[in-house]
Every structure is written in C-alpha cells, then in structure tokens.
C-alpha cells in the first residue's frame, strides 16, 4: 500500500515538474515587439529563433531580410516539412506564402518590392553527398502580386546555348536595384553556376562556375559568394565589371548566404555567430554578434 502511494506521488511530482517546465517556457516567451525598420541597424535571428533588433524582439523566423521597410521572415511551421514566408510591407497587411520544404534563404530587393526565397525540398542541406539534395527558389512581386513560383520554369542559358536538363536546383536569390535583374545559384550535373536572371523575360544566364549563394553589394558592382573547392566553400567577392575575383580573409569553411553590412564589409553566419570581414580581401574576420545568424541590414 505504501509502495502504491509512493508510486502515485512520484508520478504526480513528475507531471508537476513537466507542467512547471512547459509553463516556464510559455512565461519566458517574450511578446512580439514592433521593429523599427526606418531607423537602420542590424537585424538577426537569435539562438531561440526570434528576430532581434538591439533590445527589441520580433517574430519567430529561421531566416530574415529587410529592405526599404519590407520585412521578410522565412520559418518552418509545426507541420513537418513545411515552410511559410511572412512578408510585411509598410502600408499593407502581412502576407503569407506557404511552401513545402524547410527554410533555407530569403532576400528582399533594395526597393522592398520583391522577395526571393529558397527551401530545401529533400536532403537536409548537403546531407547525403553532392547532388542528392533538392531545392526550390521562388520570387514574389508585392506590387503586382505576381508569383514566380519556381525558377525552374525560367529559360536557362549556359555557355550561350539553351540548357534543357531536368536536374536543375536553384537557390540563393539576390536582387539588383532595378527590380528586374537578380542573381542566384543553379546546380546541375554536379556543377554550380552563378546565374543572372531577368524577371520580365523569364530568362536565366549562367555567368561563372563554382559560385554559390551570391549576394549583391549595395552599390550593385560586386557579388559576395561561396567558392566551392571540393566539399569546402570559401568566401569570395567578384567584381561584375571586370570579373576580378578576391578571396576574403576568412579561410574557414562557410555555409551561408553572405550579407553586405555596407559597401566595404561582408557579414555571414559561421559557428553560431555572425562574423564580418572586409570585402577587399584584407584584414581578418571579427565576430559582430555572438549566438546569432541570418544578418540583415536596415537600409
């Protein structure tokens, strides 16, 4: 009899401990605060998966980007293998786009009109070896409501010829100022290319091999990207005018889409922290923000 009561007591204590634990997680959750997207400064995703701007705590996102007051937040939903992109543009209500897949990249065009995203359809990032993963990249025009569902529907040209392969994966969209030109990565038959896209003509042109996750500089003259050497990627900056290519001063393996803090500095997530390094190949990497990822700059 005493044993039974001891058992009941133990179960009750465990249930209470569990309830207190879950309750503490609910109580500890900070209510979402409005972000100041006119003021400038760095946005990032903290360890608990919330967007932060200084001491303000924003929405839950895995990836975030911001431009001209438009905030784009890409996050996983409670439903397995599903992602949603929540976009808020000044003067309009939030807009949600659902996608099958897990969040990977998100970008807003400098004017705040276009959003581009990438999700992994299968193969968690690069698990399972090269060529076994599958991504989907899309673009949405907030002004016209046009949904460019997947870049796979665009016409791709490689080495001046149409490239009709089926095994195309696109990721890492970055926008130019004209709200028409964009850059992205395509992978096919084991090779990756930097492609330049034209939204109006629905065309893509391969520019350069071994370029992944491009990020256009604010002045639009250079692209920061990961250069692939075997299974390792290193941060480089490519000058679009003359094709000059500079490896940056962080030789470490990188798996992120870089972000320009300004025209001279490139930031990126590595080892659970946001680092920054000069864009001209000089200097050394510094930690901008520990315990953070997905840097975005309010401009």
């Amino acid at each position: 009899m005493r044993r039974t009561w001891a058992g009941i007591a133990a179960v009750v204590i465990t249930v209470a401990a569990g309830a207190v634990f879950v309750g503490s997680r609910t109580g500890g959750a900070v209510a979402e605060q409005p972000l100041d997207l006119a003021r400038g400064g760095l946005l990032y995703v903290d360890e608990s998966g919330r967007v932060r701007q200084d001491d303000r705590v924003g929405p839950s996102c895995q990836r975030v980007d911001v431009a001209a007051g438009t905030l784009a937040c890409l996050r996983a939903t409670a439903v397995p293998d599903q992602a949603e992109l929540v976009v808020t543009k000044p003067g309009a209500g939030p807009r949600t786009i659902s996608e099958w897949g897990t969040p990977s990249r998100v970008r807003v065009s400098p004017s705040g009109r276009l959003v581009g995203w990438t999700v992994f359809r299968s193969g968690d990032s690069y698990l399972g070896g090269a060529g076994t993963f599958s991504t989907t990249a899309g673009i949405f025009d907030l002004d016209t409501g046009s949904h460019y569902g997947s870049l796979e529907d665009f016409a791709l040209t490689v080495d001046g010829k149409p490239y009709p392969a089926e095994d195309l994966n696109y990721w890492g969209v970055t926008f130019a100022r004209d709200d028409r030109t964009f850059y992205a990565t395509v992978r096919s038959a084991g090779g990756t290319w930097l492609v330049r896209g034209d939204l109006r003509g629905r065309t893509l042109t391969a520019l350069r091999r071994n370029v992944e996750c491009p990020s256009l500089s604010p002045d639009g003259t250079r692209v920061a990207y990961k250069f692939r050497e075997g299974d390792r990627w290193r941060l480089h900056v490519l000058s679009l005018a003359d094709g000059r290519d500079v490896p940056l001063a962080d030789p470490a393996h990188l798996d992120d889409q870089p972000q320009w803090l300004d025209d001279r500095t490139v930031a990126y997530g590595r080892d659970k922290a946001i680092h920054a390094v000069p864009a001209d190949g000089t200097g050394a990497p510094v930690v901008v923000r520990p315990a953070a990822s997905s840097p975005a700059v309010v401009r």
């Binding site: 044993r3 039974t4 001891a6 058992g7 133990a10 179960v11 465990t14 249930v15 401990a17 569990g18 634990f21 879950v22 997680r25 609910t26 959750a29 998966g49 839950s60 996050r75 996983a76 409670a78 439903v79 397995p80 293998d81 599903q82 099958w100 897990t102 992994f120 359809r121 299968s122 193969g123 968690d124 698990l127 399972g128 076994t132 993963f133 599958s134 659970k272």
Partner: protein
Amino acid sequence: MYVSSVRSTGPALPGGRAKHAVPATVVGLGVVSLITDMSAEMVTAVLPLYLVYGLGVGYLQLGAIDGLYTGATALLRLAGGYFADRLGRPKAVALVGYGLSAATKLAFPAAGSSLGAIGLVIGADRAGKGIRTAPRDAMITLATPDGGLGRAFGVHRAMDTAGALLGPIIAFGLLTVLVGDYPAVFGVSFCLAVIAVIVLAVFVRAPAGAVERSRVRLRAGFALLRQPGLRGTCLAAAALGVCTVGDMFLFVGVQQSAGLPPGALPLLPLATALAFMALASPIGRLADRVGRWKVFLAGHVVLLAAYVVLAASAVGWAVAAVVLAAHGVFYACTDGVLMAHASPLVPESLRATGLAFVQTGQSLARAAGAVVFGALAAGTALRPAFALFAVVLLVSVLAGTRVK
C-alpha cells in the same frame, strides 16, 4: 490447434468471458508501452529524420539506414532476453531498457546541432528498446494462459501503437502553442518516459512464474534452436523477413504510385499505425481460435498483395489507402501473433531468451531485406523491385506452410 498440442498447461478460456482474458500484468505493460511510445514518437516526429529518409538520399542509402536501425538492436535483444532468464527477473531487465531510453531524452537537446551526435543518441534509445523487448514479451506470456496469448499480445500491441499515434499529436500541439520550442518537446518527452518507468517499477506485477532464477547458460539458449518447433519458427520467420522491403520503401512506393506530394510522406506511417491499432486485438483473438501460424502466414499474403498493387503501379488515393490498410493488417497478423505462436514452444525458464531468438532472427532478416531491396531499387526502379519481392515472398509463404 497444433499450438495447444505442443503444450497446454494453461486453463482453456471460455470464449464468452473474454473480458477476463487479458491479465492485469499485460494491461500494465500496455500502459507502460503506451506512455513510452508517446514519449519516443513525439521526439521522432520533430527530428529531421524524414529528411534523412527523404527521397533525396538515394535508394541504396535509404536501404542501409533502414537496415541499420532495424538490425542494430539485434544483439541487445539477445542480451536482454538472456539476462532476463539468467537473473530470473525480466521486470528488472525491462526497467533497465526503459530507463536507458528515458535518459536519452535528456541528451537530445545537447546533440541538437550535430547529426553524428543525434545518431549516437538515437542509437542509445534503440539499445534501450532492444534490451526491454524480449523480457517484456516474456512477462506477457508468463502472465497469460496459453489459450489467450494472441489476444494478450494484440491488446498490448494496440496500446503500444496508440501511444505511437498520440506522440506526434502532442509534439506538434506543443510546437504550435510554444512556437518552435523544441526543448519543450524534449522536456515533456522526458517526463513521459520517467512516468512510464515509475508505472512499470511500482504498478506492474512481475508474473509469478518468472521469480525462480534459472541457471541457464548461453549454450542452453542456443540449444533451444535444436528443438524442431522453435527452429522451424525461427527459420520461417527469418525467411519471410528477408522478403519484406522495409517500411520506408513501402511508404515511398505508396507516395510515388499514388502521386502524393513528398510532404505527405511523414503522414503515411500514421495510416498504417491506425489500421494496426484497430486490428491488433481482434486479429490476436482470431489467431487464438484458428491458429497463430496460419494468421502469421495470412498476414504475409496480405503484404504480398500490397506489393503486387505497388508493382502494378495503380495510381490514386484509393490505392494508397488500400496499400496502407494492408500494411496495417500485415503488422496486426504478424507482430504479436508470432510471439504468441513461439512462446508455448519455449520452456518457461528460457522464455525471454527463446523469444529474443525469434525476434532477433526476424529483425535481422527484415533489415537484410531492406538493404537488398534498396540495392535492387537503386539498380532498377521501385516497380520491378516490388514485383520481384512479391514473387520471393510468395515462395517463402508456400515454404512457411510446411512449418509445424
């Protein structure tokens, strides 16, 4: 009928008093399994396993992963069964297994960022499952009169599966309330696992038959296999196991032939589990009446029919429903029924060891089947691979009818 002719020490149960046919120990173990599966499946549901298993990994790797997980616990099953008999304390050994799995729930958040570490933690969790399975099944048989074994196992498996169904619901409910708070999921999972251990330790009576410590050596365990009845069962179960394709392949086959989006893949096991849960108890009872081995073989015939449907690549939601229902029937006809069939063939003092042999043979064979199917599907395609496995499964079922 041949079962009761082998050994019929238990009192025959009158059919009308089925309410009393399932002993309290079995219900208690069912509750423990229900809570434990709830705990385990809520973690599995949120781990990126569906990505590892996803279509992008390649059939060969998919087969290897499936095979590894199915086969990894084989040795520990034998160890768990052996120690349960050797110490004469199946409950204590089962407690070790449940306790180990409970402890691993705390390790998941720490392993979160590294896939290798997650693999290790999952390995420890599976080890706990391996250790506890044979002693737990031995306790079910020791507590149940022979005539009601099929029903007892059916009830236990139905409760077990109910927990597996509830787990993901709890996990996604928590994730919805506490947006993206994975540590909360692991915390609740740990609490549930601890409660299951407490329930087992305090409220489940160890069956009286197991108290006597048997001085078995491993050799005595292997000697069991010289007994024609058990050896035939082991060999036939293994032969049939090699002809199964592995759950993930079946789900991938269903997803492709029915033209479902890849995102539906994680939901397909739920359909199988629902059918299994609903049918485990009635089919177990049926097995007690018409013969457990017959029902075991019939389950494989149903699985064979599912393979034929997938090989014929009939398209549509109805096909998916039929195949998943058949898969659930297959589990209801085979999972507990095989244990119910095998246990009267093993002397009480070696019950856990004997059952561990049967389970190990079957799970190793199923693991091998998944690997072979993976290689075959990688070399050709899913459809011809299903067709070939349908043929070899038919041959094995025919051979299996000769087991007495």
